[in-house]
């Protein structure tokens, strides 16, 4: 009797779980279907298969868009995202190490400030940054985005790396110091190789954050050829003020989101570790 009841609930739980997954994936299915079918076919719903002619033309159309080619957008986004990931990764790892291993008087206050800074929206800094970049002539220049993204990513990277380094055993480093190795050498020869998983987490999260950003791109980049991939989604597929060509727009969306999604699927372990790490183990 008891055994039957268990299997029953098990079945129900499985059905519910997979039903939820189905509901969750439906909007993505819609985008995928719209992107591989001509717009004429999906105006009565992408679930309507009375005629089904998969095509690659939407992707080509978005990639080589006349005014806003997504190819250029992807390239621009990479030019911004790669340095915006590497710079704070490098600086944040060093600073995090300092926070974890050396004590100085106002350390705790700095630490709390860092947590608070992580919480603020970019709107809180947008106006002075815009005026500053204007003064330096860095509007419409990727350098402004790279600088701000790096600075903006630092607080959580420092916090995350500090937590990671604090959990590493000090004994190995102490042994190395006894053997006469310098701090610098210890950091590069011993600490860094041990922290590769943490560095991977930081890389994945920060890269995705920069790639997915729209707000900073909107306030710093104005000319069409400079526009990043996310910005171009505001222009591609516009057939009029209220009319959207969902096929070409879906193809463009697929291209923009495939980068973070692939990164997530391939590096899921590091992504989740990073996410759980910087939110919970403060």
């Amino acid at each position: 009797m008891k055994k039957i009841r268990i299997t029953k609930t098990t079945i129900i739980v499985h059905v519910i779980a997979w039903f939820v997954a189905l509901i969750w994936i439906l909007p993505f299915m819609g985008v995928f279907m719209a992107s591989i079918r001509p717009y004429g076919e999906i105006i009565h719903g992408w679930w309507n298969f009375s005629s089904f002619n998969p095509t690659f033309s939407n992707f080509i159309g978005a990639w080589n868009h006349r005014n806003f080619p997504l190819s250029q957008g992807v390239l621009n986004s990479l030019i911004v995202a790669i340095p915006s990931t590497l710079i704070p990764l490098f600086v944040g790892a060093l600073a995090g190490y300092a926070f974890a291993r050396f004590s100085f008087p106002i350390k705790n206050y700095i630490f709390l400030t860092v947590v608070l800074l992580m919480a603020l929206p970019q709107q809180s800094v947008a106006i002075p940054l815009f005026q500053m970049m204007m003064k330096f002539g860095l509007i419409d220049n990727f350098l402004s985005l790279i600088l701000v993204h790096s600075a903006w990513g630092l607080p959580w990277i420092i916090l995350f790396m500090r937590n990671f380094f604090s959990a590493l055993p000090v004994e190995i480093e102490e042994a190395a110091r006894v053997d006469g190795a310098s701090y610098f050498k210890i950091f590069y020869k011993i600490v860094l190789p041990m922290s590769l998983p943490a560095l991977a987490s930081v890389t994945v999260l920060q890269f995705m954050w920069v790639w997915n950003d729209l707000f900073l791109a909107l306030i710093f980049i104005y000319s069409d050829p400079m526009k990043l991939a996310t910005q171009r989604l505001l222009y591609i597929g516009r057939a009029g003020p209220y009319h959207l060509d969902w096929s070409i727009l879906s193809a463009a969306s697929m291209i923009v989101m495939i980068v973070p999604i692939l990164m997530f699927v391939l590096l899921q372990k590091y992504y989740i570790k990073g996410m759980v790490g910087w939110t919970i183990k403060g």
Binding site: A34, A126, P128, W152, W246, M275, I280
Partner: protein, 274 residues
Amino acid sequence: MIIFVVFPILNTIYISFLSSEGEFVGLENYANVIGSKDIFNLENFPKGPPLGAFVHNMIWILIHLPLSIVSGLILAITLRDVKGASVVKTLVFLGMVTPMVVGGLIIRYTFEKDVGIVNGLLYFIGLGDLAKSWTAYPDTALFALIFGSVWLWTGFSMILYSAGLATIPKDYYEAAKIDGASAFKTFFRITLPLLRPITVTVVTMTILYELKIFDIVLVATYGGPGKASSVLAFQMWLYAFRYFEFNRAAVVASLLTVLTTIVTIPMIRFMVKR
């Protein structure tokens, strides 16, 4: 970091007290902005949106916070003993890694008349009369976006709760079972209290997300129709980078700074206590 983060925050607050000519005007901008219909539009109060960006953010929190957290928790608990749970988790979590711009587009597409699956399902269950472009009407636009954002964000609480559940020792549940505790009681006496640190984090991060909503609104409705789905972060951008009214925008930005600080302080105190 001080140049690009700390100074701009303080400078924004300073600008919010200046007139457009740069004179110190005290709280005049605040009175102007907070008194404007963009932020509080209480005339419409019982009728529905547009109610002002601030009120919209509060509605967002009121609906999105309980929905996304409870569904994330339920998913995390249910998926503990489901075959293929990691696939389900990955699918639910996709919303979190998708760029918010794309998320906003998908929400609009999903709620659009004829092409969107929401209306397709309405036809399917015989409620075809209700089908419309949900994001194009003032009374439904805000709510369509809120439900869409629940879809995007649930993966967050699910993943954090899953990680938290994994740290609860199995013995506790076995002991509860031996003592004859019901599943209900086990949940409220063991699971929930042990997940408290995670709940603090999830609630804080979720409110922060709700206060920062920007991309979704911009791309799906542009705050419309008639400001019916505008939120603070979006209104700030409109003031600053569409109308170039930096002082008014600085007021909204400072408001956001204060709100996020108020939300974060309890979490910091909680972290320090531990």
